[in-house]
């Protein structure tokens, strides 16, 4: 259950990042709502996950998936650079998350 909460927390954080990006381009209320609620829900679900998971694991996975997810979204939907360093970073994060899931 803890892992599901962390996954949700990371997903809504990515939504928040998209909201922020859209808001920085176009200042609409909808974009602002996406941005603020995305981040707020992200913290909330991280909090829920701590009932089941060790803090170090929950925090690292939340941080990792949020970062990797945002980079992937930006590469795929916003046409950002796909330079090797970024792909390598995403791969490292995935290895870390899968590894942590397997040992816990």
């Amino acid at each position: 259950m803890g892992w599901i909460y962390v996954l949700i927390a990371s997903a809504v954080e990515i939504a928040g990042v998209i909201g922020l990006k859209l808001f920085s381009r176009k200042k609409t209320l909808l974009n602002l709502a996406l941005f603020v609620s995305g981040f707020a829900l992200s913290y909330l679900f991280l909090y829920f996950s701590l009932k089941y998971l060790a803090m170090s694991i929950a925090y690292a996975v939340w941080m990792g998936l949020g970062t990797a997810g945002a980079v992937l979204v930006n590469m795929i939907f916003f046409g950002e650079s796909k330079k090797p360093a970024r792909v390598f970073g995403v791969v490292l994060i995935i290895i870390g998350v899968v590894g942590l899931k397997m040992i816990s």
Binding site: G16, T67, I103
Partner: protein
């Protein structure tokens, strides 16, 4: 305005780094090193506040605690934004996510008596190495040399 496109990875959340970095370039040119050392104070503060809310998440018991935590998170965002004004966003994030991860592992082990295992340590290290790689890749290549580590 290209700066807005440099910032997109916001984990843990930097509200207005996008505008921060626009100002960052200008400020650094005008004020030089004086501003940069101030930036590092904000980096330190944002790390401390990050650790405070994480600790709070584990220790909170009554509704008042959660109000306090919300205030700490907002303060954290504020310092993060201030730090991003003078130091490249990628650098700030790389440092504060690394510090957050290292200290949560330490808190787990020493404050909350969670068992430490080498496998866990290694996977967390790999994960954070990935985060640092991504954050540093965010930095614009023409950023000032001064804060390169």
């Amino acid at each position: 305005m290209q700066c807005i496109f440099i910032i997109p990875v916001i984990s843990g959340g930097c509200l207005t780094c996008s505008t921060g970095i626009v100002r960052f370039t200008v400020v650094v040119i005008i004020l030089g090193e004086k501003k940069i050392s101030k930036g590092w104070i904000y980096v330190t503060l944002t790390c401390i506040f990050e650790l405070l809310w994480i600790y709070g998440f584990n220790a909170a018991e009554n509704p008042l605690d959660f109000v306090l935590i919300a205030l700490i998170i907002i303060t954290d965002f504020y310092f993060l934004e201030k730090a991003c004004e003078t130091i490249q966003t990628g650098t700030v994030y790389a440092i504060f996510s690394a510090i957050g991860t290292i200290f949560t592992a330490l808190m787990d082990t020493f404050l909350f008596q969670v068992e430490f295992s080498w496998a866990k340590g290694i996977f967390i290290t790999l994960l954070i190495a990935g985060v640092i790689t991504l954050k540093l890749a965010e930095n614009s290549p023409n950023g000032t040399e001064k804060e390169k580590k």
